[in-house]
């Protein structure tokens, strides 16, 4: 009997540790979407562990990833940021952003089939972007599917990469996406071509966090004791 109790206690402790991990990843994803400019209530971002436990566990108390899905719409400010400057050819450009779908995968490994299924879900529901949070790394073949499913944008994160929000680290300066208009202004002011700016890879962790796309420009704001706040700019490649 004692052995059984000990075993049961161990399983419960494991489930609880797993739940805490997922709660942290869940919160980071919400902060990330909020930082990108999606419409999210503060109480959603700051969900307590208890509330998370209530909503996202199975009857045994273990976390249930199948329940961990959500979607957000872009705010007006975000829509404006993602809209190109009107031209004669394109007098009424549409915002290049839309509803985002987020899903924590319950599959232990993600291969071609699992990725296809996710892409299909994103396409069928006309989500502009899909974020798949996975338990382990994705196979190389499955990653090759991501560019094939355009126009939907698919992003992937591993749970372990979301346990802490990297942008909250004190050494990581603030990154801010420039709108198309702000980008033109910047280049005009400094008489630069975008290719003359220092670069940031779209695979850079902060770029990934912000969902940067090739060609966009971010403003990086640092604080310095001597100079106060100062900004630099990077062109995403």
């Amino acid at each position: 009997m004692d052995n059984q109790d000990a075993e049961r206690a161990k399983i419960a402790a494991d489930a609880d540790r797993e739940l805490t991990r997922l709660w942290r990843a869940w919160r980071t994803v919400h902060q990330m979407c909020q930082d990108r400019g999606y419409e999210i209530g503060e109480e959603e971002v700051k969900i307590s562990l208890d509330d998370f436990r209530k909503n996202y566990t199975d009857p045994s108390g273990a976390p249930d990833r199948k329940k961990m899905t959500t979607s957000f719409r872009p705010t007006d400010a975000m829509l404006a940021k993602y809209t190109a400057i009107p031209t004669k050819v394109e007098p009424d450009p549409q915002p290049q952003i839309g509803t985002i779908w987020i899903e924590f995968s319950s599959d232990a490994s993600i291969g071609i089939k699992q990725m296809r299924a996710f892409a299909q879900h994103v396409n069928q529901h006309n989500f502009h972007t899909g974020i798949l949070v996975t338990q382990a790394s994705i196979t190389p073949a499955a990653l090759k599917i991501i560019p094939v499913v355009l126009p939907s944008i698919i992003e992937t994160f591993q749970e372990q990469d979301l346990l802490v929000n990297i942008t909250h680290h004190e050494l990581v300066p603030t990154h801010e996406l420039l709108s198309a208009e702000q980008k033109v202004e910047l280049l005009k002011r400094y008489r630069l071509k975008e290719s003359q700016l220092p670069r940031i890879q779209v695979g850079d962790p902060v770029a990934k966090y912000l969902g940067l796309r090739k060609g966009q420009v971010v403003k990086i704001i640092r604080r310095s004791e001597t100079a106060g706040r100062y900004a630099s700019y990077r062109w995403a490649i």
């Binding site: 490994s109 071609i112 089939k113 190389p140 073949a141 090759k144 599917i145 094939v148």
Partner: protein, 298 residues
Amino acid sequence: MPHSILKNFSIPNTSASPARSREDRNKETALHHAQILQQRKDVEALILASTEALLELPSSPTANPAQPHPQDISLVKNSLKPFQPSDYDLLIEERNINKLCGYVLCPNSNRHEDTKAKYRILHGKGRGSDSLRFVERQILERWCSDDCGKRALYIKVQLNEEPAWSRGGLSGGEILLLDDERNIQKQLEDDSTLIEKLSSLDMSLEEDEVVARMKALAIERGDEKAPSRSFGLAEVDVRENENLNGKASAPEPSAKEGNANGGFDSIEGYTPKFSSKKMRDSEAGNDEDEDEDMMPTI
């Protein structure tokens, strides 16, 4: 005098043409690179599509991996032509994720060892610590059985390591299955390089008694009247293949690439060393020797 006329004639020509031809050449080079890039993209897309299709094989859930359906066989043989060994490894990985045996024509689930330990110890032939083999659990779990592991490796060693977009139109020979009727005979008759591969395969699999199995196959399929005749190189009537293309398109498999991918090439923990022709020559004379005699050459 005609000499100088010719010279005079050529002077304006050479002074004008380098600039233009350099431009032309640059254009040509750019076009050439663009074409290669496009070919490469096309091949990659084709391999991805084939990988997806091969995830669905075999077409029947009750198929026998030793006797696959002819339609499945031809799909496999055609689809795998542009594959490099590394592409093939990815296919196996994908099948395993879907809880399928890594051998593309097998409907069974892959093995699942009831342990999280990295290695398993298997008892081989003989006694004492020499007979113990350490086998990576991950490798065991790729297949439903050792037989399927052999079948899958048999295909892998035939795949061209050269990417399909740089094979220069060489289509390569037909991929053979371990269970193909006549496949050993065919190999011996058609392509001397395959014999070489087969001998490397022998080397790599001797612990698993594949040599014996192949001997048996050769006897069974090829020469029932003379059962004493073994599967050996000395009796083979090797005709020089006039078409050297076949030879060029079939490089020897390398153990390196597999190792980088987590030791795919190692058979139950034993990593084969794919040898040069030298080794083959040295053993060609004593083909009837037992496995043990091959060991010192490894």
